[in-house]
Symmetry: C2
Subunit: 349 residues, 2 copies
Amino acid sequence: MTPDASAAPAEPLMLREMREAPAVVRRLLNENQDAVARLANAIRERQPAYAVTIARGSSDHACTVLKYALETQLSLPVASLGPSVHTLYGARLDLAGALVIAVSQSGASPDVVENVRMAREGGALTVALVNVEDSPLAEAAEFTLPLRCGPEKAVAATKSYLASLCAFLPVLAELTGDEALKRALDALPEQLAHTLTLEDAAHELAGRYRFADNLLILARGHHYGVAQEAALKLKETCGIHAEAYSAAEFSHGPKRLLAEGLPLLGFASADAAWEATRQAYDDLRAAGADLRLLGPVAGADLPTPLGGHPLTDPVTSTLAFYLFVAHLALERGLDPDRPPLLSKVTKTR
Amino acid sequence: MTPDASAAPAEPLMLREMREAPAVVRRLLNENQDAVARLANAIRERQPAYAVTIARGSSDHACTVLKYALETQLSLPVASLGPSVHTLYGARLDLAGALVIAVSQSGASPDVVENVRMAREGGALTVALVNVEDSPLAEAAEFTLPLRCGPEKAVAATKSYLASLCAFLPVLAELTGDEALKRALDALPEQLAHTLTLEDAAHELAGRYRFADNLLILARGHHYGVAQEAALKLKETCGIHAEAYSAAEFSHGPKRLLAEGLPLLGFASADAAWEATRQAYDDLRAAGADLRLLGPVAGADLPTPLGGHPLTDPVTSTLAFYLFVAHLALERGLDPDRPPLLSKVTKTR
């Protein structure tokens, strides 16, 4: 008797949605060309003195990645705005001359929307990265970069985070004329498709952490916001107390936890931070740390394809991590789509 | 036979140094008056468009507290600069027109010093908060606000963190003319002395966490950087995997960990964020969370004195927390002055 397909357990939504990543990113790159050109022109004309990001949750972690991109590519310092400064403390920040970027899949968080309204009224150049194009956030901002994900139903967002990592990169390529970045973006859907073929390796690595209660996720620079996102997903889908830490900050205290046997998962990066990061990782291993690596370097425990640009590598690393974490949840007997106590949209004030 | 005093175990340095807090803060307020006036004048004259902080470890957590203070009091958006953007990625951020504040007890971190040099060369108004007044950082910055701590020997910094929370407040009081803040600063040494009398209550609360492996530290706004500092100290001195989280971000994922029995310690605040924070805490308790509170509100498990200003309350909350965490280390049979694997000064690049 052959197994009855209709009786097979459905694949979790989280895995199904992350498999859409190549198509989502291809669509985003193709369909946002006009929006990218308009925004790049506005930035050229108004010459913002600095940038501000506004977001919560996973979207805020995408802003951390964006911060390093804006700082290294445009030399533009980036502030992360705590929405409560306006909504609770009543401060109207003076954001004239700033480039203000808000990120929200739903575009529905009232505090993010209110802060973008304040920024726009104050003379900032405002941009919203949103999946829901008729959302209050898209309406509040002067410019919009749609995430083009289609509906995202899983509680653990994946494709919208990946899209929010990508959406601003064509603007940077346009402003800097970085041909390597343009090529890396063109190749990115293919790279993401290749990353999806790493599922068996991701599954195998996940097995090691089946019984882990704690995990520290290390990274620097362009991958730091990926580490933040990874720690959140480990909490959400696996109930593991995972925390992101800068590999540079680790010796300022957290290193103490190695004496308690805390395992580490580090992101590798094929960029200018790698030599210092690798050295920090070697030192940790010498101190007895159980450290595994994920990223676009040879010898990583989960080696992702080398995409040719430090700004696109975090996108493939994130997808590889998502494969890992979804399989880890399943290994632990958990349904990644039904985390206890969580719901899809949170509306904070 | 009476006990032989010479045979009694010496009190840990960490506790001895934190007891100096009232004297340190009094000295800082008295001796920095000229430096405060000069810096306030420079800020008035040059009208910075935004601010940037540069620091690592505990000093970076003091910068988080400072960020909320600058944003709510001066409407000045504040970016936290990752030193590696310059030292590893080679980006020279355009910081002309920025107020750049670096914080370092030792003034010796090469990456912090290099970033301040870059900022000053680029036309920023640079300020260093340092304890070691003849340090490279003090030399690199145009203005200095000394922390006036005297030598700090404990690996777990306490008095220098408290001083770094205080050092910029007189500048804010001068710029805003906030009389309530001036009065709260005058009263602060006394408030800190009063906080030291809470040691028995801090000890008693610590007993609850004797066997805890994990802890989440919650706060919002002015207390958020205190939560970051608290989490670091719990790691350093107690080997507890403690993590700081914004009470507003908690429902974006970390809430899931309540199902694993994760205990929570929340900071209370007598400010505009309290009503929303209290509501979030009530919701967490209703969801079954084991949540204890520390701060200047009635009903807190460790109630600190109400100092009369939201910018000085975090200073007393921090000192109360330090009493708590030092006694927790002792309860766990650990010497807070000798954390495994850590040393006093870390020099990152």
